[in-house]
Amino acid sequence: MAQNEMLAMILAGGRGSRLKDLTNKVAKPAVYYGGKYRIIDFPLSNCANSGIDTVGVLTQYESVLLNSYVANDGRWGLDSRDSGVYVLTPREKADEGLDVYRGTADAISQNIDFIDNYNPEYILVLSGDHIYKMNYAKMLAYHKEMGADATIAVRPVPMKEASRFGIMNTDGKGRIVEFEEKPKKPKSNLASMGIYIFSWKLMRKMLVEDMNNPNSDHDFGKDIIPRMLSEKRNLFAYEFKGYWKDVGTIDSLWEANMDLLDPKNELNLNDSSWLIYTEDVSILPQYIGKEAKIKRAYITQGVRVEGSVTNSVLFTGAVVGKGAKVVDSVLMPGAVVEEGATVTRALVAENVRIGKKVKIGSRNSEEIELVAKSVKGGTK
């Protein structure tokens, strides 16, 4: 790919409030996933692996941690000359004062000056909170081949669930003829993944107009895409096959972690041709103790298991003490399950300690229990 032919802009401002205490202090893209990753590692690694050099990350909600995390662009190999990851938070401008990002489109509009620096042909707009592996270079090739003004990545969802998504109706040749947000009677099962490629010249013009439109919500889904359709622009759907997950709730975050335990899991993080990069840690490899019992588990470096672990995902530095049992659970970085404690169908947040002999969760619980605060153990 030619230098900065396509610039990527990652929307990472959302809180993800249904993730409850996990997003009290960090935005959703910074939430941990898969033993050693944060969710935003996925779009960033995809960008790096797709040959995109410059990535803007648009942050807003609780952005301190996320800003410093993504600014370390060497982690994803995005630190060569003419390449980088740039944190773009709302800023005060000379003639307009300080504005928050009013919507997904507005976040891009407010950074037109940044994009202009690179004078790209195309821009790729992504969500920072989805888990998937995708080659955006292939999507760009499709965009060019179709002579599109906009290409939207879609994936087939079960028809009966289609009314929960933004659905793209196409003409059979991939051209989008209609977009329906959460339709009651869906006509197609192609759900938008919130991944867009726009030809920048046209999009720049549309964004400038949209900024000044008092009736707009400044949102790609609500405003920009419908307007493009009404103007009879060339919009194409790019069908993506493979693992994709938007982890909006504690249950779905837990489930996405459990997906990794499937020997045939589609995400396959072990593929050396498409690595997901993340923060590096100086820590021992995982230590599995003398009395440990491990079955169906996904475990990363720095973990220490002395007890039993079944059907669970253990993140960096998590500890399972002697006689402790961890079943169907996720232990986030630094979580400690002390001796004799039992954790079942739970998600234990970062650095939380489950005290000796404490019992958390149950096998038949309806929902996954989020443990966000340490629990003191019994004195017995």
């Binding site: 898969g34 033993g35 050693k36 060497g74 990794l260 335990l261 020997p263 993080l269 072990n270 690595l275 997901i276 990069y277 993340t278 590096d280 100086s282 820590i283 021992l284 490899p285 995982q286 230590y287 599995i288 103790g289 003398k290 009395e291 440990a292 019992k293 491990i294 079955k295 169906r296 588990a297 996904y298 475990i299 990363t300 470096q301 220490r304 995902v313």
Partner: protein, 373 residues
């Protein structure tokens, strides 16, 4: 911090040393250690954590793996503007030549050494594993007024282990009276950790003196000779210490760390051991996995049984395979039903057809790199 006062030299093993098998493919510094590390990570991390940011790494042979691993040095927390890790070679000498020793490498690079701004040098080997704050060593060296300070470790198993190491003999005034080879004649010995602290000027004059006396003298030889004329003292190291100058020492040192209290003493949060990341994903344990008392690196797929072993990155252990008291290096595949005990399996090897491989505790079996059995 030592960084303002001392630069570091990471030295290579003497050309008389050959560790069976492993050494055919890489220098000892590039040997894998407890899965995700390489031996050279330890001396470089010690220097980096002691605040030293000018480090020279001397490579005697097969530089590829070391060069690749060290890269810009950024992962060792060395600031790329103010600090520097240099890889240096003895350029015009045959690898196996008796002339190709440390003094030869230092004298060929003497101009670079003399140009260093620091007044002191700390020399540490790339073939030993230990944790040491070099600023403490330097402080003691300066306050004692000694010409040279040597780091040593007191052991009680010098008969069976610490093969190819040197020992220091200490006189009543705590001065070093001589250095000699460990011949395994006594249990209790002060093993020389091949680690030196001295002023840059002393170092340069020792290199020159060695060269003048004999073309094949090593730094240890000249220091031994100078014991009478110079004030040479010992500084005792405490904590985990391993020398990797033979296959059985490498094997023993690796398995010793399976005692978690020993390992966690070597790996303190305030004294991180840095290494180069390979971005491998976590390890997956399947239904039939049985693992105990082992260090497992990331990126493995485990269906079999592992006991008292160290497993490197990206290893596949199939159903029914049993690994006991062994060291499995990165990217090895062990097929179904294979039994392996007291064995070191080198990188990328595949054990498929041979179902039973055993060494002994004293003489571990070695399986070659990229070999198919």
């Amino acid at each position: 911090m030592a960084g303002y006062k001392a630069f570091g030299i990471v030295s290579s093993a003497d050309n008389s040393i050959h560790v069976e098998g492993l050494h055919d493919y890489r220098p000892i510094g590039a040997f894998s250690f407890i899965g995700r590390f390489r031996v050279i990570d330890f001396p470089i991390s010690n220097m980096s954590n002691s605040g030293m940011d000018r480090i020279q790494v001397y490579v005697r042979s097969r530089p590829r793996s070391i060069a690749e691993h060290i890269g810009s040095g950024r992962h060792y927390n060395i600031n790329s503007k103010r600090g520097k890790i240099q890889l240096l070679f003895s350029e015009d000498t045959n690898v196996n030549s008796i002339y190709n020793n440390d003094i030869c490498a230092y004298s060929q690079n003497l101009d670079i050494i003399e140009r260093m701004h620091q007044d002191y040098v700390i020399i540490a080997p790339s073939y030993m594993v230990y944790k040491q704050d070099f600023s403490e060593l330097l402080k003691s060296h300066i306050s004692s007024g000694a010409d040279v300070t040597l780091l040593y470790h007191k052991v009680d198993n010098a008969k069976e282990y610490f093969q190819n190491c040197k020992i220091v003999n200490i006189n009543r005034q705590k001065g070093i009276s001589s250095l000699e080879k460990n011949l395994g004649t006594a249990k209790e010995r002060n093993i020389f950790m091949d680690t030196y602290c001295m002023s840059k000027d002393t170092f340069v004059s020792l290199v020159k003196a060695a060269k003048e006396l004999s073309s094949i003298y090593t730094l240890a030889d000249i220091v031994n000779l100078k014991c009478k004329d110079l004030d040479i003292r010992g500084y005792q190291h405490r904590g985990y210490f391993a020398s990797l100058l033979s296959l059985s020492d490498y094997y023993k040192a690796s398995l010793e760390l399976l005692d978690y209290s020993v390992a966690s003493d070597l790996f303190r949060p305030e004294w991180p051991i840095y290494t180069r990341t390979t971005d491998s994903c976590p390890t997956q344990y399947f239904e039939t996995a049985k693992v105990s008392n082992s260090f497992i690196s990331n990126g493995c797929l485990i269906e079999g049984t592992i006991e008292n072993s160290v497993v490197g990155r990206g290893v596949t252990i199939k159903k029914g395979a049993v690994i006991k008291n062994s060291i499995i290096l990165a990217h090895v595949t062990i097929e179904e039903g294979v039994y392996i005990e007291n064995t070191i399996v080198d990188k990328w090897a595949r054990i498929i057809h041979v179902k039973d491989i055993r060494g002994t505790e004293d003489h571990p079996q070695y399986i070659k790199r990229r070999d198919t059995l």
